[in-house]
């Protein structure tokens, strides 16, 4: 089978093709076309296949990580949405839960709602807590709602009525009417998040409406172009939780792609850690535009909910923090004459000043070039020529305004950019009570390895591991991830013999659906592995404890009740003997594991002449430093910094006081002091 991973970042689009029969890997990288991501994706596939003279029809599965949703949220460029909700609660979206984020903030603010008040339509209808209709939804009320929507002419409509998770009748009625008369995208709360708590459900449904048209538009364009060039390939998209979804099944579930583009990096980083027996890893994916950081302790952490651009999102997501720090981050001076770096990025166009494409504001890449860490002739393997003089001039200009030498300005830019990343790492480690010094830093992305030593020095981290292909680790994560489908359904049953039958039939249908979804994604039925979970609680609690159901059991009530009691005792220190126990939500995870994760091919040693370049050191001194190509580093031999290691997809800076070792499986270990 041939699997193609495509990771689209703000600056570069990375591709990796794996032949699961031979283990052969082909990688390719090109500039992203930010306004039309599908263009660079198609162009990348064509370029990659040309290189190895393969016919596109030979690709079986494509797994895609995209930042379209993330960008739409950050730039607030989603669809124009109208909200249809039960009359009387139109403002719930704006009030939220009436609390403030910081208790001592006298001036607490919330982000403005995604739907302005005049675009919220109240509906006369009411369903009660049992799911019974109290105020029926009249046909003429549906018509009135449609008429007011027509006047507003929204791109998308979110429908969220009280108690629709108990009885979706009215939501269905409205959705049918609206879909029949308007061309807008329609998101309905009982489909998006069939859970109680009206604010969280409404807010998530509004996000679905906001993102839906943008994401579907993109994926449809991509799928159409792909059908032309690779008709046999199935296009699957990576979801925020590390699961995959068939492109044609995304309508109504686009919020699942909120951080699609980040999940691959976390998976790829953890894969590297796992293969090298590292338990505590800090993955740092620094590309052209942003830096995504994740602290992993024993595995990838999936949070039940997330927040994106200040909006709560009830969809499970890998735990990852993003900041605007990349190679393309722009250095600028504010009105108080203070130097800043980012979060704005020069992107791929015009790119850093040294690209010579018209950029005038110096970036982190320009500073690294001026410092001598990057080679003018071997950036991205020589495919992008860097103009040293342009970079020097731009850095000189900005330094002049600050009264700083060119050398100190370049150093300053790197220090500030490093400090931004260090602060983000502190937030996910120290502020959560973890000591970063116990972690191994795994830097990747095109820019990560160039600054990893600076970051490690600043935090006291002693060990850095650089993957084999740092520049495309995210894309690697996409092809190495299992195809994975998560299915859930609220059941609200008593954990008793009586209700067992209903729980079992729910599981049966969830398993069937999940298997079907995986087969549609291109999985082989015999590789599918099923895990069952049920969320349980004492009757009267509002929060559940997830219980893993062991395979092949009989007597669900007794087994799950025992597991629940053990876990409740474990978490809270006690049991309640006289209370009923409930099954609340049934969950199924279906994984298709095949042998895509082949053992890495052994590292190849190829002698090439080393080179030498003047490099500005952190203390401002300029000294000559040896430059090596990665393939020419002998296996298992310790080398002392300062050193520069160049390869097609990145440049690794080994600072003074650090040593380097390249292993048989072709990772680079950097250690403070000796090995």
């Amino acid at each position: 089978m041939r699997v193609l991973g495509i990771d689209v970042g703000g600056t570069f689009t990375d591709l990796i093709l794996v032949d699961t029969n031979t283990g052969e890997e082909t990688i390719h990288k090109l500039a992203t076309t930010p306004s039309q991501q599908e263009k660079s994706v198609i162009q990348g596939i064509e370029e990659l296949l040309n290189r190895i003279s393969m016919s596109p029809s030979e690709i079986d599965i494509i797994i895609h990580g995209t930042t379209v949703a993330t960008n739409a949220m950050i730039e607030r460029k989603g669809a124009r949405v109208c909200l249809v909700t039960t009359r009387g609660i139109e403002d719930v979206l704006e009030i939220g839960r009436q609390n403030r984020e910081e208790i001592y903030d006298l001036f607490a603010r919330r982000p403005g709602p995604l739907v302005a008040r005049q675009n919220r339509v109240g509906v006369d209808e009411r369903i009660n807590w049992r799911g019974n209709v109290v105020v029926p939804l009249e046909t003429r009320e549906v018509s009135r709602v449609i008429d007011s929507l027509k006047k507003m002419n929204p791109e998308a409509v979110a429908i969220s009525l009280l108690f629709s998770f108990m009885n979706p009748k009215h939501e269905k009625q409205l959705a049918k009417g609206i879909r029949g008369s308007l061309r807008s995208y329609v998101a309905v709360s009982y489909e998006v998040l069939p859970e109680y708590r009206e604010f969280e459900r409404t807010s998530t449904t509004v996000l679905e409406a906001y993102l839906g048209p943008v994401i579907l538009g993109y994926l449809e364009r991509l799928d159409q172009s792909l059908t032309k060039i690779a008709p046999a390939a199935r296009l699957n998209v990576m979801q925020s939780n590390g699961g995959t979804v068939r492109c044609s099944n995304i309508s109504g579930r686009t919020i699942g792609l909120a951080i699609s583009g980040l999940a691959g990096g976390v998976i790829g980083g953890w894969e590297t850690a796992r293969q090298n027996d590292i338990k505590k890893a800090l993955t740092l994916d620094m590309g052209g535009t942003s830096c995504d950081i994740s602290a992993l302790h024993g595995g990838i952490k999936v949070r039940p909910d997330n927040e994106i651009a200040g909006f709560p999102l009830r969809f499970p997501s890998v735990d990852v923090k993003t900041i605007g720090a990349g190679g393309g981050s722009i250095a600028w001076i504010d009105d108080a004459e203070i130097l800043h770096v980012g979060p704005q990025s020069a992107g791929a166009v015009p790119g850093p000043v040294s690209y010579g494409l018209g950029g005038t504001e110096p970036t982190v890449t320009d500073a690294n070039l001026v410092m001598g860490r990057l080679s003018p002739g071997y950036f991205a393997g020589g495919s992008i020529a860097l103009d040293d003089d342009l970079a020097k001039r731009a850095i000189h200009n900005i330094g002049k305004r600050l009264g700083l030498s060119k050398r100190n300005t370049a150093l300053g830019i790197i220090k500030i950019s490093t400090a931004n990343m260090v602060q983000a790492i502190r937030e996910i480690t120290i502020e959560k009570g973890m000591d970063p010094r116990e972690f191994t830093l795994i830097p990747f992305g095109g820019a990560g390895p160039t600054q990893a030593v600076d970051i490690a020095e600043s935090l006291g981290i002693g060990q850095i591991l650089i993957p084999r292909y740092p520049g495309i680790t995210s894309a690697m994560g996409l092809v190495h991830a299992d195809l994975r489908v998560d299915m859930m359904r609220s059941v609200m049953l008593k954990a008793t013999e009586n209700d067992q039958r209903l729980l079992l039939s729910t599981f049966e249908s969830l398993i069937k659906d999940a298997q079907q979804a995986l087969i549609e994604q291109g999985a082989d039925e015999k590789n599918i592995h099923i895990q069952q979970e049920v969320d349980m609680r004492y009757q009267g609690q509002s929060h559940e404890i997830p219980i893993d159901i062991p395979p092949h059991i009989t007597g669900y009530p007794e087994v799950t009740r025992n597991l629940f009691e053990t876990e409740h005792k474990n978490r809270f220190g006690y049991l309640l003997k006289d209370r009923e126990i409930e099954w609340v939500t049934a969950r199924v995870v279906a994984l298709a594991t095949d042998s895509r994760a082949n053992a890495e091919a052994p590292a190849i040693f190829e002698f090439t002449e080393s080179d030498e370049r003047e490099v500005i050191m952190p203390d401002g001194e300029v000294i000559p430093v040896q430059i090596y190509r990665r393939v020419s580093i002998p296996i298992d031999r310790q080398m002392k910094g300062p050193l520069i290691i160049e390869q097609v997809d990145t440049t690794t800076w080994v600072g003074q006081g650090w040593s380097l070792k390249r292993t048989r499986s072709d990772v680079l270990w950097l250690r403070r002091g000796g090995h």
Binding site: G88, I89, E90, D91, V92, E94, I95, R97, Q98, N99, R100, E102, I103, Y104, D105, L106, F107, A108, R109, R110, R126, N128, W129, V134, L162, F163, Y196, R197, E198, F199, R426, I430, E431, K432, G433, M434, D435, P436, R437, G460, Y538, G540, Q541, S542, H543, H568, R571, F572, G573, Y574, L576, R579
Partner: protein, 528 residues
Amino acid sequence: MIEDPIIFEVIKNSLISAAREMSVALRKAAFSPNIKERRDCSCAIFDAGGKLVAQSKDIPVHLGAMPLSVRACIDDLGGRLKDGTMALLNDPYRGGSHLPDLTLVCPVFIHEKLVGFVANRAHHADVGGASPGSMPGLSLNINEEGIVISPRIVIEERNLLKDRVRDLLEGTRTPYERLGDLSAQMAANNVGRDRLITIMKEHSVARVLETFRGLQQYSRRRMLNALSPYIGKTGTYKDVMESDGAGNFDIPIKVSITITKNGANISFAGTSRQVNGNINCPLASTLSAVYYVFIAVFGKGIPTNEGCWSCLDIEVPNSSLLNPVYPAPVSAGNVETSQRVVDVVLASLYEIVPEMIPANSQGTMNNLTIGGVDPRSNKPFTFYETIGGGAGAGYGIYGTSGVHSHMTNTLNTPIESLESEYPVRVISYSLRENTGGHGRWNGGDGIIREIEILADDCIVSIQSERRKTAPRGLAGGKNGKIGVNKMLYHGEEYILQSKTTVKTLHGATIRIETPGGGGWGVPPNQAD
């Protein structure tokens, strides 16, 4: 002094996350909507002397008041606080606030040595007394407000002993729910104790105890630094509570503040004597309000612990509205009077740091309790919630609409939870447009909450303020609109007083319109 700044930070943040984990456990294990949905509960970690070391981001009025609870337990129970025990209290004159707030204190031992305490406070929906919800509109004596619990051990060898809380279980209308919530409080302390022991084992007991001291010294030093530019400056202000629900009106609260080289002197001389109605504010809640203001204004970025207020010298006259003695009723003092304490302290600081002070926020919590028998189950129910309103504007900042301000930060009860658990229907939950005071920057708008009661013979209590005197604008900004309490029944509208208890019939609707926040600066159309 701080040997390894990274370890210092790591331990500090481990303690904060331990407190947060306690809060998560408490609401996850809880049974009443007021705790599991509204999060009307707080958790914190203390040193062996009962000084606050770290806290969760919960409810300000709880957090600043809990140290006195822990110290009351130490004073009253001393050596009886053994490993595996926990003590309960709510006595407003012995470290408590108002009776529904039950505080559970747990000593933490390592190798038989007391190393600290973990504690949590949760607002229970009913602890007995004259009206369901134990927040009567019109009580005249503490004993009408519920069961008073002085510090007593209720958990031994990690088991909750029901006979030690028999008075509570017999006094409350909802004993089954109380037991569930008390167990959840035990869960929070179990989690806190286990986390604290883990942290001490990881970093060594000595190092963590050293960090306890270091943290308090660090916060104290930073507070003193923040106050130092204003040494010698003074401010004073007087405002009123509009009613005590017992026939007294316009009850004064006065404060005078001087910033000194040792911190600040805050005197409440000139404040009313304690009153007949239930707006008397227990000392712990008064102190808590003062701490809140100083942390909010001067403590940005400073870790919250005892060190933040060890430089505040606060004088509160005995037997006054803000330091009442037995048997003064107090149920609205903790929730309503504490908000006014914040208003006067902020207003007097306006004379010292004008650009840092916002206009008045809604200045009330709009406490609503409904109790009766649920016709769906024939069991008694008691429902309690508080409602957000407009926040005051500040220099350059519009006030937020429909938000809780100052001493509380409880969430709303989701309508879908409310209607599932109680015989009510929410008719409206919306922003009350144009109720924020106009200004260069407008105050936030209040909320309209309209609830229809679907049971006969329910008792509704309301404790509110700012129904007569409006939240003030600042620096030329206009006042926010006052709030209104109404009952609608058979097409008629009845205005209810700010403190009230009424009996209702099936179909009666309670409509609470909460105040807007004050505006800041002269409105643009009025500037010349």
